[in-house]
């Protein structure tokens, strides 16, 4: 398996960098919005206070000037001219420069300059001559608003015009001429924040350079001036100016005439701190993400390095290199995983070796089985007067049972034995027994002599660790004389020829002697017995594996069923190989393919009633 394009290292890297970056950006956006809102509120609050403050200052100045003129006007009413006292009052206020009474001239149907009170050398006459051109618009405004405050020459010289009603005739107009140099300076000061003194018409009376006399609405369309009703005393607005820049505007009514003090500041300037914060935050974010990336690279490298090694190791395993080991460098989960991998790989390696060894042993056992099969005779034989049919099946690849027959002249040696246990060890002993048996047969020994010699051979080979039960019969096929010797083996069953079916009581045991097992003691003596058989008699030889055949429920077939099956088979056919085949079928039905608990061996030797045809020794018994 190959790695995907986005490896776990980059996934970790993405998680460790993108997530905090997104979180920080979201936090930054929220923080900036809150900060911006707060800053805007702060700017509005500050500029509004300043506007109100300046408006208040102007109102106070105007209030004081007007109050100062009250006794002068009373004095004027009393003496029809300004008295010396009035002139003294005029000196009290440094800003008030002159005071003139405008009276209606019936002849010219216009107001003309009446009594004038002025500080020395001020030159009201000259001022009037210059101002006269703007007089009529002021009158209109005066009659509408009762009081007019303006600076006709857009400098620090202001006029305040009030009308004084008379019982008859047109009202007098009181013109106060005063200078507000210090106040005017506040409006001219250059800063991020601009202050304007405007009339409701939008005309700028005081303000930064180049703005005087212009209409504020042309550059800044403030909404409060367009309201039909009287604008409230103060307020704030956010306006987009004619250059497209947002401006924060706060205004305050002066309270005299239609004057307003306006403060404006561009949003960019007002929120410059926000921009600084944003830039610094972004810088901090970049630094943080960079640091996180570096740390993530380090952390992911540490993690993925171990995982990569594990990945490479698993790749080696898939190629069959099970001896691969991963160096464990950490005590965390990855380290534990590496340890477990090492254990697993070692275990797999061990199992592979074990499997290979097992395969080798199985192969050897198969070979051994093939070799052992050569130790057994053909399962069926016919020697003129007797017929033999046998069956053998080991419980594993090789077995500890052995049976054989050999004709030597007129005698046939009939062997059946069972080594202790089963498997390879037992099979080796049977091989040794077979080798010795061949030699013994050629020497013409009687069964007792034969087993005595065989006992010595087995004892010398196994040293008492493996023993064999054995039954050896030597049958004269001419006379049917049988000499046998039993070395603790299951006694064969002799069935004498009879009319009718065999029954359990017909079983005769060839148990007239019993001797120690072969290999138990080197000097054991073996007795033998001679009996006479007749035509038609048969002998059934078997090992203890027959009653120990198991069914799938692990229940042994048992002696009772074994005997019943055997009797039924013998009663089925007088031919030994057919009876044996029937017997095989009966226990296979019980067994249902269950693995044998012990090696299974049996054979039948039957004396023919008549000598007849030879049966091919190669013909196989049907199982």
């Amino acid at each position: 398996m190959s790695l995907s394009k986005l490896s776990i290292r980059y996934k970790i890297l993405l998680i460790l960098t993108v997530m905090p970056a997104v979180a920080l950006l979201v936090y930054l956006a929220i923080a900036l919005k809150v900060f911006k809102d707060d800053k805007v509120a702060y700017v509005f609050d500050t500029t509004s206070q300043m506007s109100s403050s300046i408006a208040g200052q102007l109102k106070t100045r105007l209030d004081n000037i007007v109050k100062l003129t009250q006794p002068i006007l009373q004095d004027l009413g009393q003496f029809q001219d300004f008295s010396r006292l009035s002139r003294a009052f005029l000196q009290f206020d440094s800003s008030l420069q002159a005071m003139a009474i405008m009276v209606w001239d019936e002849k010219t149907s216009s107001y003309k300059v009446g009594p004038v009170l002025e500080k020395e050398a001020y030159g009201f006459e000259k001022f009037w001559m210059l101002w006269k051109g703007q007089w009529n618009p002021n009158l209109v405004q005066l009659f509408m608003n009762e009081t007019v405050v303006t600076n006709p020459f857009l400098d620090d010289r202001f006029t305040l015009i009030q009308k004084i009603e008379r019982p008859e005739g047109r009202p007098y107009l009181v013109v106060l001429l005063f200078q507000l140099s210090d106040l005017a300076q506040q409006f001219q000061t250059k800063s991020a924040q601009n202050f304007y003194l405007i009339q409701k018409s939008g005309k700028i009376l005081l303000g930064p350079e180049n703005s005087l006399g212009q209409n504020l609405k042309d550059t800044l369309p403030v909404r409060f001036l367009d309201l039909n009703k009287q604008a409230s005393g103060s307020g704030v607005e956010t306006i987009k100016d004619n250059q497209g820049a947002n401006r924060l505007v706060s205004y305050a009514s002066v309270g005299w005439g239609d004057l307003y003090v306006i403060s404006t500041v561009t949003e960019i300037n007002a929120l410059s701190a926000v921009e600084i914060l944003k830039r610094k935050s972004l810088l901090f974010l970049v630094v943080l993400i960079s640091a996180t990336t570096i740390l993530s690279l380090f952390a992911s490298s540490t993690l993925t390095h171990a995982l990569t090694k594990l990945f490479e190791a698993t790749g080696e395993v898939t190629k069959g290199h099970f001896d691969v080991q991963v160096v464990v460098e950490s005590n965390d989960e990855v380290g534990a995983l590496a340890q477990n991998f090492n254990k697993m790989a070692a275990e797999v390696s061990r199992l592979m070796l074990q499997t290979a060894e097992k395969a080798r042993m199985e192969s050897e056992l198969q070979t051994a089985r093939m070799v052992q099969e050569t130790l057994f005779p053909a399962p069926r034989a016919d020697f003129e007067t007797i017929e033999i049919a046998g069956f053998y099946e080991p419980a594993s690849e090789v077995g500890g049972d052995w049976w054989s027959y050999t004709r030597i002249d007129d005698h046939v040696y009939l062997w059946i034995g069972d080594a202790t246990g089963h498997g390879a060890g037992a099979a080796l002993i049977t091989s040794a027994a077979k080798s010795a048996a061949g030699l013994i047969e050629s020497l013409g020994f009687s069964p007792g002599q034969a087993l005595q010699e065989l006992n010595k051979s087995i004892f010398d080979v196994s040293r008492g660790k493996v023993m064999m039960t054995f039954f050896l019969g030597k049958l004269n096929i001419k006379t049917y004389e049988l000499v046998y010797c039993n070395a603790s083996h299951e006694a064969p069953f002799l069935f004498r020829k009879k009319e009718g079916p065999y029954k359990k009581k017909d079983i005769e045991l060839l148990d007239q002697n019993n001797n120690p097992r072969l290999g138990q003691s080197r000097d054991s003596q073996y007795q033998e017995t001679k009996i006479q058989l007749e035509k038609g008699d048969l002998v059934f030889f078997y090992t203890d594996g027959v009653p120990d055949i198991r069914n799938p429920q692990n229940e042994a077939w048992g002696e009772r069923e074994f005997i019943k099956g055997l009797l039924a088979s013998l009663n089925t056919s007088t031919q030994s190989y057919k009876a044996l085949s029937h017997f095989c079928e009966s226990f296979q039905v019980y067994r249902q393919g269950t693995t044998l608990a012990d090696d299974l061996t049996f054979f039948i030797v039957k004396n023919k009633e008549e000598s007849n045809q030879e049966v091919s020794a190669n013909e196989q018994v049907s199982m």
Partner: protein, 158 residues
């Protein structure tokens, strides 16, 4: 599968061994030294099976006894079969006090083990089985053995 078990009860010169389970190559007889006792009674009632390796171990163990009188008691069929078949499994110095004989009724399928006791159902060279053995429903039962084979050890021990 039940492992080989042994319970030892020593009362003076008399030693009683209660054996159970399976006698096979794993059965350890080493702790069961019987030398020194005058009489050893081996209760085999709980023995389930014995294989050829177990027989080898048994003969090695029982053959090591030199002086004690050994008594086999309550021998199940698996033990009786070995006594009959394997030379040395029931040595000359050993006697059988009692053994079980399986009975069977062909019709009902009932099985029963009847304990044959020395002096009652058998003695040297003779077997005197109960005149009649019946199952739970009163059916007469027959011996489920080949008598000549099963009682051979009695006839051979004179």
């Amino acid at each position: 599968m039940s492992k080989f078990q042994c319970k030892v009860d020593r009362q003076g010169p008399k030693l009683t061994l209660q054996l159970g389970g399976i006698i096979d190559e794993d059965a350890d007889f080493a702790p069961l030294a019987i030398n020194g006792a005058h009489e050893v009674k081996i209760d085999l009632d709980a023995i389930k099976s014995i294989n050829s390796c177990g027989i080898r171990e048994w003969i090695k163990w029982i053959g090591a006894n030199s002086s004690a009188k050994v008594i086999y008691a309550k021998c199940p069929k698996v033990i009786v079969d070995q006594m009959n078949m394997v030379d040395g499994f029931l040595p000359a110095f050993a006697q059988v006090e009692s053994f079980y004989v399986p009975y069977y009724n062909e019709d009902s399928g009932a099985e029963k083990n009847i304990l044959f006791r020395y002096g009652v159902e058998f003695k040297e060279g003779q077997v005197q089985p109960p005149s009649e053995v019946k199952d739970e429903t009163g059916n007469t039962m027959e011996m489920d053995i080949i008598e000549s084979k099963y009682f051979k050890f009695i006839k051979s021990k004179v």
